[in-house]
């Protein structure tokens, strides 16, 4: 008797989100399958890799992660260009300089920088505020206005500040990052709120990524469930692509700090795991891991 592989078909489809505009736009999501189950259906876009740029000169970064960029860390535009040369699909800028507990840079300075990057860069841009929910309102609003129409993917919008950030993102033609603390119910709640003003094609879910050994299995479970709920159960409030902003989590571990090679392993294993869990955008720090993950995504590993 001929063997026939058991195949599932699913009812839901992840929405396709476009980041950036024109020829340099990147599309993520769009699949009606569980992660990498290409034999069961179609994935409109493959998962993409972003490399991280820090506008605060890589302060606090492990040496091994800085190495490929050490001559450009004080010039975010050049740093971003290097990321693309080294294989990144797009760039993820973290506005660490705006952290009120650190350099406490102004919203205007941040907006000016992002605008310059968008103009000079040949790639769409992901922009994260510093994560201080009050400071982020001013910073992200200024960035959204300065880059009106550029279709950035920006956030994080969290429970405490989503109303203001949602308005700025919606009014200025961008996409939003919906961030919740590793909790599927809170994740859905925030999505429901954002959907009142934005279509699902302009929302990306950030369920928070933890590093290997620091709670990665929780992130894995939430991403896995997110995809199941969206694709298998067809929950329309959960059918957005997922971003795994994991590089920074991996490189701040003791293991990565004490030994660059361990850092490489930490980042690649965490990235590979969250890729399997269903992440559509992986944010990494090291270009060698970017190459490695791209090979995995293209099925060459």
């Amino acid at each position: 008797m001929e063997y026939k592989a058991p195949l599932e078909s699913y009812t839901g489809r992840i929405r396709e989100v476009t980041i950036g505009r024109g020829g340099k736009a990147v599309r993520v999501g769009g699949s009606n399958i569980l992660p990498l189950h290409h034999f069961e259906g179609s994935a409109a876009s493959r998962p993409v890799i972003a490399l991280e740029v820090d506008d605060n000169g890589a302060a606090g970064w492990a040496a091994a992660a800085v190495q490929p960029f050490k001559d450009v860390v004080n010039d975010p535009v050049k740093w971003a260009g290097r990321c693309l040369e080294l294989g990144a699909d797009l760039v993820c800028l973290h506005l660490e300089s705006t952290d009120p507990h650190g350099a406490n840079g102004t919203a205007a300075e941040a907006a000016k920088l992002v605008k310059k990057m968008v103009q000079e860069m040949d790639s769409p841009l992901i922009v994260y505020g510093c994560g201080d929910d009050r400071k982020d309102i001013g910073v992200l609003t200024a960035v959204a206005e300065a880059c009106r129409g550029e279709n950035l993917l920006m956030g994080p919008a969290v429970k405490e500040n989503y109303e203001a950030i949602l308005r700025a993102v919606a009014d200025n033609g961008h996409c939003i990052i919906a961030q919740t603390p590793i909790d599927i119910n809170l994740e859905k709640e925030l999505n429901v709120k954002l959907l009142k003003l934005l279509p699902p094609e302009r929302i990306v879910i950030d369920p928070l990524s933890s590093a290997l050994g620091y709670g990665m299995e929780y992130s894995f479970t939430i991403m896995e469930r997110t995809r199941q709920v969206g694709v298998v159960y067809g929950d329309t409030a959960m059918q957005m692509p997922v971003i795994a902003d994991l590089g920074r989590e991996c490189w701040k571990t003791n293991q990565a700090r004490s030994d660059g090679e361990q850092g490489m392993i930490w980042e690649s294993i965490t990235a590979m795991s969250l890729l399997l869990a269903g992440a559509d955008i992986l944010v990494l720090r090291h270009p060698d891991n970017c190459r490695l993950l791209k090979e995995a995504i293209e099925g060459k590993l």
């Binding site: 599927i184 994740e187 859905k188 429901v192 409030a237």
Partner: protein, 292 residues
């Protein structure tokens, strides 16, 4: 279904202050209000009762019995408080609760015999709360067999499957429904009881009643015998006594997996349908479940 009024609860600030100051007025007001609202029993929840357990229990039982002619569900994990309270109960009381834990077998179950009470027995064991239907079944069958061997009649046992908040563990909410449905086959003659409001713990306050009421209708349909519940919720009491038939029919249809066009319904019925879907596990819970 029997309703056990939950409102005299030590977690309530008004109640804990009244108990501390031995202030009878707020306690008696709550007892009267619940009796008037249609409670069949009054639950007196003392929590762990670490300070003056015996004095507190006897004061509370005495205070309530002065104004309410209802049997008491004495709710504490402290055996000293339990015994002191049971001694004073004029009507046959409900000991709330015993469990499969060794200390409960040793100290609580004998009180049910000594004071001829009915007794709530939960699925909890020394290993904690069993995580699924099968392990709940396994634990309760064993604990009930033990209680029987001590001389407690099956008819006097009210099994508590332990209801968890839907905001914390949606799957278990659905599993408890299934547990209640199969219980009569497992342990013929045994009764069942739940702490209903636990299902909505952690949910925004203004939405708790809707969850409680919907879940009650679902449990009731599956054969639940009694619920410790907010009897001051008029709609809950009305649903329990067979009112609001249209709403109950809609909830039943969701339970049976029949298609219901929620959008075509009036706001209130729509919210019951959405809530039933969440409790059945058909839709992922979020605090914004009515907004989708």
């Amino acid at each position: 279904m029997i309703l056990i009024g939950e409102n005299i609860h030590i977690i309530s600030k008004a109640v804990s202050e009244a108990v501390r100051n031995r202030d009878i007025a707020p306690i008696q007001a709550l007892a009267r209000a619940q009796a008037r609202a249609g409670a069949d029993y009054l639950d007196l929840n003392l929590g762990p009762a670490r300070r003056e357990p015996e004095q507190v229990a006897s004061w509370l039982v005495g205070t309530v019995q002065e104004v309410a002619d209802l049997p008491i569900s004495l709710d504490t994990m402290n055996p000293l408080a339990m015994e002191a309270g049971l001694k004073l109960c004029r009507q046959r009381a409900l000991l709330n609760s015993a469990s499969g834990k060794s200390e409960s077998r040793e100290y609580m179950m004998p009180l049910a015999i000594k004071y001829n009470t009915q007794v709530v027995i939960s699925v909890i064991t020394d290993q904690g709360c069993p995580p699924d239907v099968d392990s709940r079944v396994e634990s309760i069958v064993e604990t009930v067999a033990y209680a029987n061997s001590m001389g407690i009649d099956t008819e006097d046992i009210w099994v508590d499957p332990i209801i968890l908040p839907v905001s914390a563990d949606q799957k278990q909410v659905h599993e408890a429904l299934e547990f209640i449905r199969i219980l009569p086959d497992l342990l013929p003659g045994v009764k069942s009881v739940v702490g209903l409001s636990n299902v909505s713990n952690g949910t925004p306050a203004h939405l708790r009643g809707l969850l409680n009421r919907t879940y009650m209708v679902m449990l009731q349909r599956n054969g639940l015998h009694a619920a410790i519940a907010d009897v001051l919720d008029e709609e809950l009491v009305e649903l329990n006594s067979g009112g609001l038939n249209d709403t109950r029919v809609l909830i039943n249809r969701v339970m049976d997996g029949e298609p219901v066009d929620a959008e075509a319904l009036p706001e209130k019925e729509k919210s019951y349908v959405q809530t039933a879907r969440v409790l059945m596990g058909d839709a992922l819970y979020s605090h914004a479940w009515l907004e989708t």
